[in-house]
């Protein structure tokens, strides 16, 4: 309870300050917070923008889901196949550092402006953090654990799923978290650049039609998506990595 309070008070103060500061605002660019929040309710909760919200979430979930599964799968495959790993390593890092938004034009040409283009873009951009972290995490698995696995007679598949993956899981999870952030960014960018639905599309529309109240409401919705996604992620992480944090606490490493 005390901890939750520590985290929330600053946000409350900032919102209050924003509220008071913007209360009588006649500025086109900075409408009163009260009317922004009203727009959030009218547009996003009860109004027409709900469709944009749900199509954005759909893009995000499908794209991120593909990235997560493919990232872990390809990372594991590259870890198992030394030759493939050595052959592809330089290109992986190149693709990793390539800013994904520059791929929008290419994705547009290849896939048009529909659902597929956005999902492909999100999945492609969000793939790399998970893939590279999976590969790195697996390469860092203690040799004694691998020897132990052989001694106990684990098959290749068991070794992968019951030793290598759990041992690498703290780093895999770090990759998944990173991928989630990238996926949210690409969700907005892909919808912004070329789309007929989604929050990004709504934002770009609002901005072009001087609807700054609507624009601010979209930004607040995005912030809420980010916060909720992160909360869900942390809850899942604490479950999956309970052993890891327990062990670190025993060893005296603070979080």
């Amino acid at each position: 309870m005390g901890r939750a309070l520590t985290r929330v008070w600053l946000l409350a103060v900032l919102f209050l300050a924003w509220w008071l500061w913007s209360a009588g605002s006649k500025s086109l660019y900075f409408p009163p917070l009260s009317s922004i929040l009203k727009a959030v309710w009218d547009q996003w909760v009860t109004g027409p923008a709900r469709a944009e919200l749900s199509s954005s979430l759909e893009h995000l979930l499908v794209g991120y889901g593909i990235a997560a599964v493919a990232g872990i799968g390809l990372g594991a495959a590259l870890w198992s196949l030394r030759y493939a790993r050595e052959a592809t390593a330089p290109y992986l890092y190149f693709l990793y550092v390539l800013p994904a938004p520059v791929l929008v034009p290419a994705a547009l040409t290849l896939f048009g402006i529909g659902f597929t283009m956005k999902v492909v873009l999100i999945a492609f951009a969000a793939l790399w953090p998970t893939l590279l972290n999976t590969l790195d995490g697996m390469r860092g698995v203690d040799a004694v654990k691998l020897d132990t696995s052989k001694v106990l007679g684990l098959s290749r598949a068991r070794n992968m799923f019951q030793v290598v993956m759990p041992a690498a899981s703290p780093q895999i999870v770090a990759g998944l978290r990173n991928s989630l952030q990238v996926a949210i960014i690409l969700m907005v960018v892909s919808e912004w650049e070329a789309s007929s639905d989604g929050i990004g599309y709504y934002l770009s529309n609002a901005q072009q039609s001087f609807d700054y109240t609507g624009m601010w409401s979209g930004i607040i919705v995005l912030a809420i998506i980010g916060i909720v996604a992160n909360l869900l992620f942390v809850a899942a992480e604490n479950r999956v990595l309970r052993w890891h944090y327990g062990q670190r606490a025993v060893e005296g490493v603070s979080r």
């Binding site: 020897d147 001694v151 106990l152 684990l154 068991r158 062990q247």
Partner: protein
């Protein structure tokens, strides 16, 4: 006979030895050219025997154990387990590594750690539960099954590792300096524990250590390796009476003579 004496490296008798090493040689490639870890190792370990391998550091003790476990092929020569050449780790070998913290799986509870090799061997669920309970009880951890290894002390973690290695009833238990990272008193307790479970499970043991007292206390026979590159300097039969006792056995005059003899071998510059 309580005089130290040289025992034969190759066991006489009819049964196939559990372990046979024949001119085992291991050469590692390194930046500075090939490095010979094991020069020429020949000895047998008979069924039911407790053999210790001692030697100065760098004598290739761990390399020898890895060859024995089938984790690493020798460069030349032969390592046989129950008469068959080792190509991978056979089902009938259990290994306890020095570093329990690295060998136990921290994401599994103690019971799950012990159960894992049984799952691999497709032991039925009910039988698995029984076997886990039995083997945990015999290492004195009957109530620790639900805990995670990292919630236990070092000595208890090593007991878990021993239980896991014994769970599938191997014929041969290999131990690589298993008690090197626990305090002295825990070490004595674990030495007695391993002697007891060895009788209980009727397992053959090859135990690598750098501690001469530990080797004399535990072993039927001690294989002394020479300084790098490792070769067998001598094989010493230990005929101290069993059951052994931390205080009485170590106070025995014969114990002191073994100690003197072995120290001379290990310290020599040969």
């Amino acid at each position: 006979m309580t005089e130290p004496g040289t025992a034969s490296g190759v066991t006489e008798g009819t049964g196939t030895p559990v372990v046979s090493l024949r001119q085992v040689r291991k050469v590692y490639a390194s930046a500075a050219g090939p490095r010979t870890a094991l020069a020429d190792i020949t000895f047998d370990v008979a069924r039911g025997e407790f053999a210790c391998v001692v030697g100065p550091s760098g004598a290739g003790k761990t390399t020898l154990l890895r060859c024995l476990a089938g984790l690493m092929p020798p460069t030349s020569g032969e390592a046989l387990f129950e008469g068959a050449p080792l190509r991978s780790v056979p089902d009938g070998i259990g290994v306890v590594f020095q570093d329990y913290g690295r060998s136990l799986f921290p994401w599994l509870t103690v019971a799950r750690n012990v159960e894992l090799p049984l799952r691999v061997r497709r032991v039925q669920r009910a039988a698995r539960g029984e076997r886990v309970a039995e083997v945990l009880a015999s290492v004195g951890l009957a109530d620790a099954g639900g805990q995670y290894p990292w919630q236990l002390s070092g000595g208890m973690q090593q007991r878990v590792a021993i239980a896991r290695a014994l769970a599938y009833r191997p014929d041969l238990l290999l131990m690589d300096e298993p008690f090197a990272s626990v305090d002295a008193q825990t070490r004595f307790e674990l030495e007695d524990l391993i002697l007891r479970v060895r009788d209980e499970f009727g397992v053959t043991v090859v135990f690598v250590t750098h501690d001469i007292d530990e080797a004399i206390y535990l072993a039927d026979r001690i294989v002394v390796l020479s300084r790098s590159p490792g070769r067998v300097a001598e094989i010493v039969g230990v005929t101290l009476p069993r059951p052994r006792d931390q205080i009485a056995t170590k106070a025995d005059e014969a114990f002191a003579r073994y100690r003197e003899h072995l120290l001379g071998l290990v310290m020599s510059r040969r």
